[in-house]
């Protein structure tokens, strides 16, 4: 076994995969720009992707905000800086943790569901059947999911941000001896719209990633149940990795620090 050949093969197959993903993205964006538009399907996807994700995103945001307040308090305590809890909580949640945690949760819920559904349609020839019925499968299946995810994610994140800040507020006022009105005033005075907007922009990008990876892996699934299972796993893993990677890039771009 020649190690150079093995490395070469791995690199080539990775490049081929990136190429295929780029082509798929291009096809999806092209389909997005031209009719027909499937309004009914898009609304259905709003419910599945957005509305039904509210409980998980809300719960994880609540606990993240709470634990963040506790940790900052304990850490800040070492320098006598524990009063900074509300400012750091709102900054951390809106800029970073709100969108990332919502993105990862939605990746687990939605990318998996999309990949499993479209993957099953692929292996049972339902996608081929769509083309024989004069329907473009990318327009019919991918575009509604992309649109719904890109619009839902910022809304979910905005809700998650508020719930996260509320989680911090609960812990701070109940356990750490903060006064409620002071905590809220510090929060509101400190947070800028740039903090919040940067998080919402990230959320929209993460929504795009989740829907795209779900659709891409579903479309390319092969074989039977096993192939669909592999597609589902790949969809979740790849969207999580891409979310974390683009998060860094977006942070650098949005705050011009890199």
């Amino acid at each position: 076994m020649n190690p150079f050949a093995a490395i070469g093969r791995a690199v080539l197959s990775l490049l081929a995969e990136i190429g295929r993903l780029a082509l798929f993205t291009g096809r999806s964006l092209k389909a997005l720009a031209s009719p027909p538009f499937y309004l009914r399907l898009t609304l259905q996807q709003f419910v599945r992707i957005g509305y039904l994700s509210v409980p998980v995103v809300g719960l994880t945001a609540l606990s993240t905000g709470a634990v963040l307040a506790l940790q900052i308090y304990l850490g800040g305590n070492r320098y006598g800086a524990e009063a900074i809890v509300p400012q750091i909580v709102v900054l951390g949640i809106t800029r970073e943790l709100g969108p990332v945690i919502a993105g990862l949760m939605v990746a687990g819920r939605v990318a998996a569901a999309i990949a499993a559904e479209i993957g099953t349609m692929r292996v049972t020839e339902q996608i081929d059947a769509l083309t024989t019925l004069s329907t473009n499968p990318v327009k019919y299946l991918v575009v509604p999911r992309l649109v719904a995810a890109v619009i839902s994610m910022p809304i979910l994140t905005a809700a998650g941000d508020s719930i996260g800040v509320f989680g911090g507020y609960l812990v701070a006022t109940q356990n750490l001896g903060f006064t409620g009105s002071v905590y809220l005033k510090n929060t509101v005075d400190f947070a800028t719209s740039a903090d919040i907007n940067s998080g919402l922009i990230k959320a929209a990008v993460f929504g795009f990633i989740v829907a795209l990876m779900g659709c891409y892996n579903g479309f390319n699934s092969r074989g039977g149940a096993q192939g669909v299972g592999a597609a589902t796993t790949n969809a979740v893993v790849s969207s999580c990795i891409l979310i974390l990677a683009t998060d860094f890039v977006l942070t650098a771009l949005l705050f011009h620090t890199a």
């Binding site: 099953t120 020839e125 339902q126 019925l133 004069s134 019919y140």
Partner: protein, 255 residues
């Protein structure tokens, strides 16, 4: 007269496995051709190559004399409207009720109003022996034979010019199989469609076809009028239509 469907030297391989090795076939308008051949010889692949679901590696597919082998995307839309297809596995949309499956091409492909499309769907379901009660069930609630018939109703719903039936009678009881045979024969005779079917059921093949072609080793090894099938003079064809284990066609099984 130009052939409705014409295949010239169509080749397709998957990896190192050659499935189609130069298929030549012509189907005249308003006629019905049946492809016979052993399991795994590439009958379904042949139909999918005509539909453009699979792109041949070599050769040409002509529809109404026009080369459509590499037609893609929006350029293909007008062509797809000519086709109706019954998939071997049904390929019903499990997220939609039965009637919407049947009406799908009318609603999405042709922009027909849902109410009107539903009436047509119910009428087409009646033609394949399914009542209105079935129309509102989900495909997963149907038996295999019922799913096949829904697939058939979906294939003919938009009155296509060219219809492909991949094993239309497999999984049906003998009486229902005959009903479906009559339906296929009448869509060709009365509606004037051109049909290309695949079947293993020789009784059905004789009933629904004007011509029969046999696929073997990636090529069409015999083609002729249906009434000539018993005098084909081809030992492969003879072995196949009489279902004999002994003959020139060797099945890859270990004793």
């Amino acid at each position: 007269m130009t052939a409705k469907i014409k295949l010239i030297g169509v080749k397709k391989r998957f990896g190192s496995k050659v499935v189609l090795d130069g298929v030549d076939l012509a189907i005249e308008p308003h006629t019905s051709l049946v492809i016979i051949g052993g399991s795994g010889t590439g009958k379904s692949v042949t139909i999918k190559s005509i539909l453009g679901i699979i792109t041949p590696d070599e050769g040409q597919v002509l529809i109404d004399g026009e080369d459509v082998t590499h037609l893609k995307g929006a350029d293909r839309d007008p062509l797809m409207k000519k086709f109706g297809m019954l998939f071997q596995g049904g390929a019903l949309f499990d997220s939609l009720p039965v009637w919407e499956n049947v009406a799908f091409g009318l609603i999405q492909g042709r922009g027909m109003a849902r109410g009107r499309a539903r009436d047509i769907a119910i009428a087409k379901l009646a033609k394949v022996g399914l009542g209105e009660d079935v129309a509102f069930l989900s495909p997963s609630e149907l038996s295999g034979g019922m799913q096949k018939r829904v697939g058939l109703a979906r294939a003919i719903a938009a009155d296509p010019e060219i219809i492909f039936f991949d094993e239309p009678t497999t999984g049906l009881d003998p009486i229902m199989a005959d009903v479906i045979n009559n339906l296929i024969a009448s869509t060709v005779k009365d509606v004037g469609a051109t049909a290309l079917s695949i079947t293993h059921d020789m009784a059905s093949a004789r009933k629904i076809s004007d011509h029969i072609a046999m696929l073997y080793g990636g090529k069409i090894i015999w083609q002729g009028p249906t009434d000539q099938i018993d005098n084909s003079g081809n030992e492969f064809v003879d072995q196949f239509i009489h279902g004999r284990a002994e003959g020139p066609i060797k099945m890859a099984v270990k004793a």
